[in-house]
Each structure stands twice: as structure tokens, then as C-alpha cells.
Symmetry: C5
């Protein structure tokens, strides 16, 4: 059955190569690494009718998904995650990076209008902005050096997203006190730099959040230990929302998503 | 496809020019600038059946939307925003200004009864009242002068609505203390007067809120920095609800909305 | 269209005059003014099928609504409010006064079983009891005299319902302290006695509330100012729920409701 | 119509007399009075399809309800309450007493699988355990004597269920302090012993509650005064959940329920 | 009827013996006892269409459930619990133990894609990790000896799952203080070691929880007393979520589940 589905996908979808365009690839690289980029996390559940579609019809619909992604990948960087089985209420997560949120909205509008999108219920949308680090300039030289360690190459199958809201007390502290606490916060994360990749988005005003913290790892136990360490530092007492929801999924290529949902 | 839809819209909808009537335009100006006006923010989601309508039927339905807006624009000022893709659970926001909430109710009743309205699920309704500024009379002359700066003309594509509820402690403070904190609050907003347009609605008793704060900007990053600044001042500690939800969308003309939803 | 609908209503519904019976009117007067009466606020939303009924069928169904109200009006006093367009999630509010909650239940059972009631989803039910004033006996003579002022006759088109729950600290205060705070609370309401009509229901044990406060006014801005005044007094700090939801609607005769919903 | 329905019920349902079996009656008596018995409160709403059934079909389905109750009444004591019109979101409440929760589960499984049960949506389930009184042994002799007063015989048409969760501070107090507060709590309830019947269920661990308090009365105003008295005592400050929901309904025999729902 | 269903099940399902494979059994044993294993609690409700299927169709669908479990049992240990009648909103609970959460996701994806799974709505998913005990090494020798007591063999029909989140204050305490409180916590649980089996999962970062506590017992009253004891110790004051939801069900073999749901 899987191979039959895979064959249908081959015929139906592989029209243009995925991310072959060098320019798109370099734009994607920029969007994923530079400050001043908007990151959107859009969570969707498949509606009840999806389960009732026969495989051929599903593949037609999934082709439209692939088409929409192709059409927008020059302007926005799109990553897809499978949440089904690991998170409540949502099946898919799209992480979209764009220079302007308007571009993200255009992608999501086209996604929702597509034949596949009509089976998607929007479960949540969160936005954040990448920025140059706030506190790092004041850290010790040793810590700055440590922070340059790069996470190990290879597969990071799990992704975890934890939304954060700080208390009013936190924002009321002076910059120096916050910097000291962030240095303590950062220190306990150093042992996990190699196995847990992190990315921070600033959300104040764009959503009911102050930060979206994004993690990738192939070692979930390390990630768990990292969170335990973060719960131990003083800065954690100024956090009034941590999770709610915590989103856990696995990273997938669009082709893998198509194959999985076709079944 | 888009041009076909646009042609259908041209034939079907452009019967009378939009806002051509000078009197309606001047009434609209008054409603948008004077105190003692009621502002209503009505959030709607399109129901599941909308996605199943064919384009021709959608255009018939969207014509009814345009008709209802035409019919009421002498009495109420209506602005439309596209939330889909940027906010959870709602697709459209109508901001309605009226001298009396009865008039707003009449518009929304006709909207719901229209052929288009039958596809709308009401997600939220918030009301506020415009008033002359409470604290400005006591501000320094310099600040009063600064506040006269007008936001830059041109497009402000993004709109953000943040509902606010103050704590009982806030209301228990004497007027002088609150005025001092509001002066600090206002001071940090001055750098953003030119790029972020603001409007305040007073809601106590009309809704589970004390204020609705409304923002327009083409520079979302400036808006984000403005919110960060507001989180830093002492008055923020007396806020017990900030957002929940934060509503983010893009401003659209009715014609743009019609064209987008027709697809 | 409206006149056609009105004609159908005339033929179909005006069988017996509304509230013509003198006895029913006097019973109604008693229920609305005396202590020891149960007041129920029942909120309903029209289901999705209602919007799909044709006008003739709607009128048949609305006739059943009118019939149920006629049948029960000897025992219970029924007022109807239109919430659609002004409140979230509910379209209609019935306020029912009865000597016994059993009678209210019988009315609501018959309403739900009626052809119209099958289109109603129950969104909320709140109960309270009218009582002789707790704190007034201890007020100053001047205040007692002021409180005798009657609200101005004429139309009060808006109705607002705000549920209240006091904190455990409030109930733990001795009677004298609470009386002093209630005197301050009452003092700030005096300027609004003429334009905002008020009624208080005691709910402890009957619902997750301590009080239901009910307001009628034609001047919503006065009502807003009244609430602002109430937020300023010391007693407000002992309120742990104020609204959630705040219910805002317009008072309608049953005939008006029938005409509006028939469209 | 009612008499037609009643006749159909007579033919269809009155096969065996309700609770005629002496053994079942005595078992029921034990379950309702002894400690170490599990009490379950199961709340159900009728689904939208129920309203669309014709009367004859409803009676067929209601016969299955009666059959399931008959089948289980040897092992579990079942009481039925009508919530519709008095409580939000639920129409029916079953109170089930059993020596083992397994037996309650078996009854509820059969109920859900029955033709009637297919129209029931489970709105809530709460469990508690009857125990010998914790604090009474330490009360004064006078209070012990007072507590022996029995509630007046006759109809108690109203039932109210209030779930309770105490704060961590309460459980952290030593037994002596809690006993003193419970004596004060009990003292204020004495004036209502005759008109308000009470029963206590212990829930810690079985549900997100510490207690389920159950009341029966024909005088709701007395019950309201009792709750006001309980809000005044010191022990109330250690309550962090009181209600949420408060459940109010009327006690009905199964035959009454069948007749009411058949319409 | 039951025997007819049982016969159909015999014909349809008993193709391969359940857990006959010795290797699978030993893997299961490891997964259930060793540290470093991921435990997932997945809660499902049967959708409205399930109740409308005829018995033969149900059995076809249940066969697919059994097939999916068979297919995955080499990699994951699967236990099934019946919640219907004892918990709100969910009918079934799957507890899945796996060396990697990816394997759990694969099982749940196949379950959802199966003919049976199309009737399942995901109500909740919680994850935790088994670890070697944190605090036991510092306990007294006597307590270590006591903890070696094994729970009595035989049937433990009830299972209870209570999710726990500790306060930021808890994590801010030094290890020594936490260890002292955990010793007090453990001491009060000793009387229940024989009748209440416990298992602990660590969740920080994997979910909006710090711990999932899992209990099995045939004596629910003992479990209730155990929880009361835990509410009394100092450590309980540092718990900010205990339950919400508390999940109560009965342990069933897959064959029992199939037989029960077939009816």
C-alpha cells in the first residue's frame, strides 16, 4: 500500500524539484539566521472529512498543498512538523519565516483556500521576531566563547515549542538585574548546546506572549534535563506562562508529510 | 482565475461608488475623531460551508455583504480587517463607530441576516467609548506639544487590538498618583508617535474590559518596541489583563475583502 | 419585505392581546417589585439551522414562542432582550421572575420543547433572589431620602447584566465594616439614580455567584461613568468576579423580537 | 397531547413495578445511609437529534432507559434529577450509589449503549465516598444532640450539588485547628437542619475535588441563607473552589422523567 | 447478544495469540520497569458516528484496532484502560511505553489511520520519562527497606492518573530542603505500598507538567486515604497543579475492550 501511494505521489507531485533554486535556498538561509525576521507558528488540525477521503482524492488534495508551498517559497521559508500523536488537538505545524508578516498571511490565505486547506482547522497562530541578543554583550568572555559552540550536525527529529510570558515584575526590574539573571540562565544551558539547538523569537505585542522558544533535538532526555535546569534558576520565578501549550512534534520534509497523510 | 473573479465582482458589485457621498464621508470623519462615540470590534469566523461554495455563489453572497455596508454607512463608520492567517479562530474583524450602540446592533443584525452573514460565526464582540483624554491636561507643556505630532501619512497595513483590564488597586489609587504614572507611560510612547497610530476606547461596564487599545502601523517592529517600552513602566504592574486575545490583522478595503474571499 | 413579514405576523399571531389580562398585569407588577422573588436570566443562541429556514416556516416557529409565553404569563413575568450584535455567543436573553424556581423551570422546559425552542442552544442560566435591602437601614437619613428618587420615565432601551462574586475576605469582614463600605458604594451611585435603573439579585448557593446586578438605561455613557465610580470605591477591592460575562442587549417587546427574527 | 403520551407510556413501560422488590429497597437504603459507599454524579445533555425524534420513537428510546435502570437497581441505587431550565449545558443528572465504582461504570456503560443513551452527551462525572464524620466526635454534647434533628419529611423538590476544593493551607493546618473551624462551620448550619437536608462525599484523589456537597430542600431561600452563613465563617477562607459548577435541579421519579422527555 | 458478539470476535480476531511471543514479552517487561523509557498517556473519545454503527461493522473496525496493536507490540508496550462512565470527555486511555517517542508517534499515527481510529477524537496526550529515583539515595536505611515492599499480586482493576506541576518556589529550593520534604512525603505513603501500586513519570519540557503520577489499586478507598495523606505534608504546598484532569478508569485487556465496544 505504501509503495502504491509513493508511486502516485511520484507521478502527481514531483513536477519541479524541491528547493532546487539556489536563490530561494540562499533567501531561506537568510530568513533562518538573520535578526529582524518574523517567525510564525501556525497549528492546524485535519477536519473529520479528511479521514473519509479515499487515497486518490487525498493525493489530489496534497498536491495542492505542495503547489502552495512551491509558489511561496521564494518569499517565505516554510518548515513542516508532524504533531499528530505527540500533541493534543493539532496535527500539523507550519513554521514560517518572512521579512514581513503580510507575506506570511498571503501564504496562509492561499493554504487555507487550497483544496487541501479546506480540510484544515486553525488551532493556533503565534508570531515572534528574531533580534540580536539582548544580554549577551554583557556576558563574560568565557561564556561568549562557549556560546559559539555549534549544535552537532545530523538529524534533529524532535522539535519543541514553548511560549513564554514574563511577569510584570520582571519587566519592572532594571536592566542590570535582568542581565545578571540571564547570565545564570545561560550558564545552565551550556552543557546542552551541542545536543539541543535553540532559537528565540520576541513576541511582546504581536501575541499574548513575550517569547516563543523553539528547540530541536534528537535527544529528548537532554532537552528534558535542560528544562529542569532552567526551572532551577532565579529568572524562572519571573515567568508566569511557560508552555500552555507545550508543542511537541517531529520534523518532516514536505514529501514525508505528503506520504504520511496520503495513507 | 483572479482576473475572472475580479471581472465578476466588477459586474456584480460596482453599482454605486464606495464612499462617494460627501455627507457620509464627513459623518464618518466625525465618528472617527470625536469623543462620545461608541466603537465596536466584532470578530467573525467563516463557517465550514463557506469553503464549499463555488466562486459564483460566493460572489452572490459577497454582494449582500457590500449591500448591507452600503445601507448603513450613513449612520455608522465601518472598517474591515483581514485576520485570517494572523489571528486564531477569527477571519474577519469589523470596527464600527456609531453615536449609539443601537445603530451598531442594527448593522450587525442586518449583516447576520444577509446571505453572506449566514456563513459568519460570531467569535467576539467588544465595545468602548471615545472620550477626551483623562490625564493629558496635567501633562507638561513639552509633552503636550510632543503629543501633537501626527503619525506619518500613507499606508498603515497592520492593525493590532489589545484589550486591557486594570487591577482594583489601580482604580483605588488617587487621581494624582495615576496621573504621574500615566505621564511616565506617555513619555515612553513618544518615540513611536510617527510610525504607530493609536486610538483608545473606554470600556468599563460595556464589556469585561476597562480599555480597548487600537494600533495601526506599517512597521510592526516599531510597534513591538512600543509594547516592550510599555511593559517597563510602573503603570504596567496595575494591568491584570493585557491582550487575551491580542488581535492582529491587515486593513483592507471592502473591495479587497470581497476579492480575497471570492477565491 | 418587512411589511410582508409584518402582515404574516398579524394574521398568525395576534390572537389574544398581549398582557391585556388585568390580573396577570398585577401579578407581574408584584413579581417585579417585591422581595422573595426568584429572577432567572436564561441566555440562548439560535442554532445554525435557524438561518436556513424560510420566512414562512420561521413565523410558524415564532408563533410557538408566543404561545409558550402566553401560556405561562399568569405564573411568571417574562421579559425578552435582544443580545445579537452586542454580546458574544448569545442571541436572546429571557429574564423570568417567579415565586418558585419550579415555575421558571416549567416555562423553560416548554420553551425548549416548542418548535421554536428546538432552534435554541442554552448558553447560560443564572438565578438570584430579590430581598429587602441589607445595608440601607443603617444609612444616613439624607441618603435614604436620595435613594427614593425614581429613575426617569420613558424608554430605557439598553439592559446590562453584570454577575458579581465577592472574595472570602469580604464575607469575613464584620457587618459594620461592610455597611460602611456599602454606604460609600451607594454614595457614588446617587448621581446616576435618574438615568440608570438598577435591580439587585442575591445568588449565593443558587449559582457560582453572589449577586446579579441588572441595569437599564437609555444613556449608556452614564452607565459607563457609574461603573467607573464603582471601580473607585474601597468595596470594589473585595470583588473577585465582575462580569465574565458582562451581558449587553436591548429591551424588546415579544412582538419586536418576533418581527426581527422572522426576517 | 400529554394524556396521549401518558397512555403510550403506560402501555410501553409499566411492565414491572418500580422498586417493588423488598431486597432491592433495603439494599438501596443501605447504599444511601452507610459509610464506605461511592457516590457518582453523572451529568448528561440530550444531543440535537433528540429534539428531532417523533414522540413514538422517543418513547421507544425512553423504554430502554427504564430497562437499564431496572437491570442495575439490585446493585446500585439510582436517583434522577432534571437540570434542564435550571442549570447550564446539562439536562439530566444521575446520582448513583454503589459499593464499588466498577458497578457504577457498568451501569453507565449500559446506559450509554442503550437506544436512549445514544442521545446523551456526557457533560461531567464526579465521584465521592461516604465516610463516618471526621470532626463530630470532638463537638460539644449540645451540638451532637442538635445534629440528631432530622429534616422534615415530605417533598424536597430542589437538589443542589456544590463541589468543593480546599486550599493547601487548609490541609497543612493541624487537626485541632481544623476541628475548631469545623465546629464554627457546623454551628451556623444548625438553624437549617430541618429544612435543608445535606449529604457529604469525600473526593480527594477520585476527582479534582476534595468534597461533593449535596443538598435537598423545598425552601430554596433557606438554602441560600445557609450558604450565606457558610461564607461568613473562617473555614470558608480555606476554600479555593466552591461550585464551578453549582448544579441546581429538581428531583424526579424515573416515570416523571420519562413523561417529561417524551413530549 | 453478548455471546453472539463474543463468537464473532473469536472468528474475526483471534488470529495470532496475544503476547505469546517471548521476545515481545521480555521487551515489554523492560519497557515497564527500566529508567529512560518514555511513557505516553493518550486519551480518546469515540465520535458520535460510532454509536450509529451496527455490531458487525463495529467488529470489523475493532479488528483493525487489534491489528494495529499487534503490529507495534514489538517496539512499544501498550496498555488499554476504559474511562467511559468514570471520567469526563474521554472513553479510552492508551498507556504506551517506548524507548523513543518516535515509536509512540508511529503507533498513534497508525491507530488514527485505522478504520477504528477514524472514530477516535484525541482528547489529550501527556508524556513523561522514567528515571532512577532522585531522592531515595538520601533516605534512611529503614525507609529504603520499607520501600522494597512489593504491592500485593492479583488484580488491580482501577487506574488513576494525576498530572502534577510544581511551583517555581519548589524548583528554587535547594536540593537538601526538597529531599527532606520528599522524605516526609514518602513516609506517609508507606502504609499504602501494598495495596496501591505507583509509578512516576518526569515530564518537564515534554508537556505542561512536571510529573505524571500513575496509580493502580483494587482498593479505591486506600488510594483516597493515600491522597489525603499526601495533601497533609509540607511538599504539597509547592504543588500548583494536582489533577486537572484526574483520570480514573479500569484496566482492561484488549479483548475485553473489543468485547465491550462491540456491543
Amino acid at each position: 500500500m505504501r509503495s502504491f501511494v509513493a508511486a502516485l505521489i511520484l507521478v502527481g507531485l514531483i513536477v519541479g524539484p524541491w528547493l532546487s533554486d539556489t536563490r530561494a535556498a540562499s533567501d531561506r538561509e537568510k530568513l533562518l539566521t538573520e535578526p529582524g525576521v518574523y517567525g510564525t507558528f501556525a497549528l492546524f488540525a485535519l477536519n473529520e472529512e479528511w479521514a473519509k477521503q479515499d487515497p486518490a482524492m487525498r493525493i489530489v488534495r496534497l498536491t495542492s498543498l505542495k503547489g502552495v508551498v512551491e509558489q511561496h517559497r521564494e518569499h517565505v521559508a516554510i518548515d513542516v512538523y508532524l504533531l499528530r500523536g505527540l500533541s493534543d488537538h493539532a496535527d500539523l505545524l507550519f513554521r514560517i519565516h518572512a521579512a514581513e508578516l503580510r507575506q506570511t498571511q498571503e501564504f496562509l490565505l492561499d493554504l487555507k483556500s487550497s483544496q487541501f486547506g479546506r480540510h484544515l482547522k486553525t488551532v493556533g497562530v503565534m508570531h515572534g521576531l528574531t533580534k540580536t541578543p539582548n544580554y549577551v554583550p554583557g556576558f563574560s568572555e568565557q561564556m561568549k566563547a562557549d556560546l559559539k559552540a555549534v549544535s552537532e550536525p545530523g538529524q534533529h527529529p524532535y522539535a519543541i515549542i514553548i511560549p513564554i510570558r514574563k511577569s510584570a515584575e520582571w519587566w519592572g526590574l532594571d536592566q542590570e538585574k535582568r542581565a545578571a539573571m540571564m547570565q545564570e540562565h545561560t550558564a545552565v544551558t551550556l552543557p546542552y548546546l551541542k545536543t539541543v539547538k535553540r532559537k528565540l523569537y520576541h513576541s511582546s505585542g504581536l501575541d499574548d506572549l513575550d517569547f516563543i522558544t523553539y528547540f530541536e533535538t534528537s535527544k529528548l532526555e537532554d532537552f528534558h534535563r535542560l528544562v529542569l535546569s532552567l526551572e532551577n534558576v532565579q529568572e524562572f520565578r519571573y515567568t508566569r506562562r511557560f508552555g500552555n501549550p507545550t508543542i511537541l512534534g517531529t520534523m518532516k520534509s514536505l514529501d514525508e508529510i505528503v506520504e504520511l497523510l496520503a495513507q
